[in-house]
């Protein structure tokens, strides 16, 4: 029962049109959830969460920094999974997903690096520290840049899709090795006094808004990626009857009757 429902969902995913029609609701729900969560989390984090006894108010940038880094990583893994599905099942939608996740992932990685740098100034007294997590985020950024450069260099849509699927998959498989090696490298080069970054036992009043912000960022990413995917689908399917019907505001059901 559940299996057959999943199977039919999987088959329907192969159709950009079906996805386009279904995602209208998803985008709506995710968009509102993101707005509510981000607004609530933001006010909570800025106004109500207690100041850190060591870092004062500067730690509040964490509420942007941590979710951005988390979502950026998840998006890359999502791209790898999409690449795998695209290579195995040749689904059109997976490349749409990669194309939509790529810019957001790059931007969020850059945001994580930037906020980390701003946070580092008062905390570590320097704009840039070769900290383990900083370095692996930087490497993640360059993994994104690699896919981006490859996509830019390939003209045809089909080949671009396959090439970026291959490289996204290879990158995803390599992420654990890269993370492990960077952590290894970090323990070798550990600067003496920077232990503030080690996960402290945060009180509930501090991590609860963080949780809200993380959820907010994830729903926001879902909203953005789905919206970008919908736009991309419209562009790619521009020649089809259902797109012209949708653009001109015609009810697709009428179109079916007419045909």
């Amino acid at each position: 029962m559940i299996f057959s429902a999943l199977k039919s969902f999987w088959h329907k995913l192969g159709s950009p049109r079906w996805f386009f029609e279904m995602s209208q609701t998803w985008v709506f729900v995710l968009g509102w959830m993101a707005l509510l969560l981000l607004a609530a989390g933001f006010v909570w984090a800025i106004a109500f969460a207690p100041a850190d006894y060591q870092q004062g108010n500067s730690f509040r940038i964490m509420y942007v920094h941590v979710p951005a880094a988390m979502v950026a990583q998840s998006l890359y893994i999502g791209m790898g999974v999409a690449g795998f599905i695209g290579l195995v099942w040749r689904m059109k939608l997976t490349d749409v997903a990669i194309a939509a996740s790529l810019p957001l992932g790059m931007l969020l990685t850059a945001l994580a690096l930037f906020t980390g740098s701003v946070w580092g100034r008062p905390t570590w007294n320097s704009w840039w520290e070769w900290d383990g997590r900083t370095v692996s985020t930087l490497v993640l950024f360059f993994l994104y840049v690699g896919i981006y450069a490859l996509r830019e260099a390939i003209p045809g849509q089909v080949l671009r899709a396959r090439a970026s699927a291959v490289i996204a998959l290879v990158g995803m498989v390599n992420i654990p090795i890269i993370k492990f090696s960077v952590e290894w490298w970090h323990t070798l080069h550990q600067p003496a006094s920077f232990t503030i970054m080690e996960k402290p036992a945060m009180p509930v009043e501090m991590w609860a808004p963080l949780l809200v912000m993380v959820l907010g960022f994830y729903t926001f990413a879902g909203f953005t990626v789905l919206s970008a995917m919908r736009l991309e689908i419209l562009q790619r399917e521009a020649g089809t009857a259902w797109v012209s019907a949708w653009v001109s505001g015609q009810d697709p059901l009428d179109l079916k009757k007419g045909a």
Partner: protein, 221 residues
């Protein structure tokens, strides 16, 4: 069949000796550039030698990788061999092996001389060779993916570098650490195992992804 492929690859390698010698010259030249750019580091060269050596090896690999499939791609030989051979996978694997023989292996062979140039003590030199022998196969295997995907571009070099350099970093880290550990008289078995692990792991994914990349590039023209 395998013998025939390997024999062809070997003759190709032998006849294009400049493709081996030029990257080697680049390796030594870039070491010279670094020595001139940071004279202070010359005083304590042996403390940065391992990292410097591995960084230069990574860059040299990029040069060598760019030429990996290019001539066969341009002449149409690549298409032929992927079509005619029963198992195209073997073709790719043979090419990767020869590329390694002409880059990683040769670098490992001249590494003792480079090590002396960089002020490494004599007893560490065998360890330098060991680290290169264990680590460079991973560079050739992972690099072949990037080389396969970018062979269709007229200027694929930069894209190739952007794709594969982040994937090279683990090899750089463990390779450097292996030599450093040996310099300090520590046990380096763990780093050696990890390097070997990365190489074996790359063997499991590299040729397949490279073959997929070649098929994409062949359709590109």
């Amino acid at each position: 069949m395998l013998k025939g492929i390997l024999w062809r690859e070997w003759r190709l390698l032998w006849r294009a000796r400049s493709a081996i010698i030029n990257p080697l010259a680049f390796l030594i030249l870039s070491t010279l550039v670094f020595a001139l750019a940071a004279p202070e580091a010359l005083m304590e060269m042996s403390s940065v030698a391992s990292g410097l050596l591995w960084a230069m090896v990574l860059l040299t690999q990029l040069l060598s990788l760019d030429a990996m499939f290019r001539r066969d791609y341009d002449s149409g030989m690549l298409e032929q061999s992927l079509l005619c051979v029963e198992v195209p996978f073997i073709c790719v694997l043979a090419r990767i092996f020869m590329q390694w023989l002409g880059s990683g292996f040769i670098i490992a062979a001249v590494a003792p001389a480079l090590g002396l140039l960089l002020g490494l003590p004599l007893n560490v030199l065998p360890v330098v060779v060991l680290s290169l022998l264990l680590g460079t196969p991973a560079l050739s295997l992972i690099g072949s993916i990037g080389a396969a995907l970018t062979v269709g571009f007229s200027r694929g070099g930069v894209v190739l570098a952007l794709i594969v350099l982040p994937l090279f970093l683990p090899v750089l880290i463990f390779g450097t650490d292996l030599i450093t550990a040996a310099q300090q008289g520590d046990d380096y078995a763990l780093q050696a195992y990890l390097l070997a692990l990365i190489s074996v792991f790359s063997l499991a994914i590299g040729p397949f992804a490279a073959l997929a990349g070649l098929r994409i590039s062949l359709e590109l023209r």
